[in-house]
């Protein structure tokens, strides 16, 4: 505890604590509400008569005989084959993260150890590329990909996501490698290692915390992407996010919205698990670029 916070006045403590509590409500209630509601029928989740129906499941009880129902999940996962989209997401995300990290580690290390001007220019270019709205790039890909029959396949999407990911990965790993003292690999080189051997035997063993943090953000980028996956994947190769969007496109038949709700909850669950496991790395990653200025 900091000394300044120990002697706060009671009123201020109550004010600031209730503000945080309010913020937590705003942050968490939408998720809890949707999780709870995903086990109800549409008549309850969107209740015309009384919103508390969604809490108690009045219509759900009337329609299915129990206050909880797995209909939405059954519809989404089995009828609409959401498992296929989950599998595709798994493949895309796994390879995107692995390839991004491999390229990014090599590049970030080089940028951190080169004092020449061009390294600075590459970083600046990466910053501009980072700001590029993804959909503008997609409009550049579509026509060539159609012409060369590359459109619709998972590998194409993976490579595109890797490339879009590179600017961010480079920046993050670059600032991480700057923190590893130069003397380490340079003394290895004095001992007769080539630059690559120094990287292999000296840098790789100590770089994992930075790589894991960067990997988490690559994961989030690939997992959360909508612009690229929605435009570049064919119907059968769709990943989760465009699949959910297509649930909404299909006519709002009774029950169909609940498929989307169930799918949304299913797609959010892995993210929650991720934050729970890697909270510290995510926090340190978000602040890595900032605190150092």
């Amino acid at each position: 505890m900091t000394p300044s916070s120990q002697n706060r006045s009671r009123g201020l403590v109550i004010l600031s604590t209730s503000f945080v509590a309010l913020w937590l409500l705003i942050a968490a209630v939408p998720f809890l509400w949707t999780l709870w509601g995903s086990f109800k029928v549409q008549g309850d989740f969107f209740s015309k008569s009384d919103w508390t129906y969604a809490l108690y499941g009045v219509r759900t009880l009337a329609e299915t005989g129990a206050t909880f129902t797995g209909q939405g999940y059954h519809g989404a996962w089995i009828e609409q084959e959401f498992w296929r989209a989950t599998l595709n997401t798994g493949i895309v995300v796994f390879f995107t993260v692995i390839i991004s990290l491999t390229l990014g580690t090599l590049g970030g290390y080089a940028l951190a150890r080169s004092g020449y001007k061009y390294a600075f220019w590459i970083l600046m270019a990466a910053l501009v590329f980072r700001a590029m709205p993804h959909i503008t790039l997609v409009s550049g890909y579509l026509l060539p990909f159609f012409e060369w029959n590359l459109w619709g396949h998972l590998p194409t999407t993976i490579i595109v996501l890797v490339a879009i990911n590179q600017p961010f990965t480079l920046w993050m790993l670059h600032s991480f490698f700057l923190n590893i003292p130069k003397d380490m690999d340079e003394s290895a080189m004095v001992d007769g290692c080539t630059r690559f051997q120094a990287f292999r035997h000296v840098i790789i063993p100590v770089m994992w915390p930075g790589v894991i943090t960067t990997g988490l953000f690559s994961f989030l980028l690939a997992y959360n992407d909508f612009a690229v996956t929605a435009m570049l994947l064919s119907q059968e190769n769709q990943t989760m996010v465009p699949k959910i969007a297509s649930f909404l496109g299909t006519t709002q038949v009774e029950g169909n919205v609940m498929f989307a709700v169930a799918a949304v909850v299913s797609a959010t669950a892995p993210l929650f698990a991720l934050v729970m496991m890697f909270q510290r790395q995510i926090v340190s990653g978000l602040t890595a670029g900032a605190v150092k200025g």
């Binding site: 503000f19 060539p144 612009a227 949304v264």
Partner: protein, 343 residues
Amino acid sequence: MKHRTFLWFILPSLSAMVLFIALPIVSVFVQSLFVAHDQVLVVTENCGPFGCKQTTTVDQEATRALKEAAPLGKFNGFETYTNRGHLALAEVSQAWRSATGIGDFVSQVLNLPFYRAVAFTLSYTFVVTPFVILLGLAVALGVNSLPRAIKGPTIFVSLLPMIVTPLIGSLILFWMIDSRGLIGATLQIVFDDPDLSLKASPTLTWITLFVYGVWHSAPFSFIVFYAGLQTVPQDTLEAAMIDGATRWQRLRYVVVPYMTPLVTFITLMQLMDNFRVFEPIVGFSAQASATSLSYIIYNDLRGGDSQLFGSAAATSMLTILGVAVLLLPVLIRTWREFNRKPV
């Protein structure tokens, strides 16, 4: 590091960026100069007992052949940039001449699709960014004074809105603001208006999207500020206290100056991210009252039967130009700093 080694290390990453970010920009530019072919029309004359009749049909075969021969379409120069769907030069000058006043002119211009999108994109960027910074700072100050034991869970919950997929996050809120959902129904009761719907009026839709934007991005600035607060030197704070500074003065003159570089960082990140606002418009089905630059590109590319590559490309070029203008001050500043420090 030697130039040669540097090249080998950076090559894979650099080639990925050149191939899939730099070249696509070139490709976008080339595409923006072309438009789709006109359909090949054939006029056939059918002569029957009641005289001859001319019918015009589309020669599918020839149209397809033309498309295959030149997939880009026909050359159009900068025409796409100036047509009604983009900069709409003719319409704007027409509006300038006929408008009764500045207000009328603005409202006429904002009816044009491109300017509507620009207006929303800029409003979103410049409304959401300051609110994100303020809310993030407030939450960070609040969390910082909590007992240590509950800080961890608090940070976990606070991270959720940011970590969730933007499309999914906006869908979750969209379902809640439905007039039959939790927030929608509550608002109807609070304002005692059974017909109140956040989806109906453009103003309310804009506000909803702004609120979503703040909800989604506030955790980012919260985390950055929270980490920054840990580095504020306690000695300075104590010294200020001994000198008789009130709590507010300590916040204003010690803590806030420490946060200034962080504000620059968050502003930069937020400007970049908010300028490409796209998913919430899809999630909230808000395209009737709010479109962003990214959204109109998406709409052209998706377009029912024929994808409007030329139109999407022209909008993309203009968007990229916008990004460049947005980043220019940052780039200039970084360049100056780089030149100042000895290499």
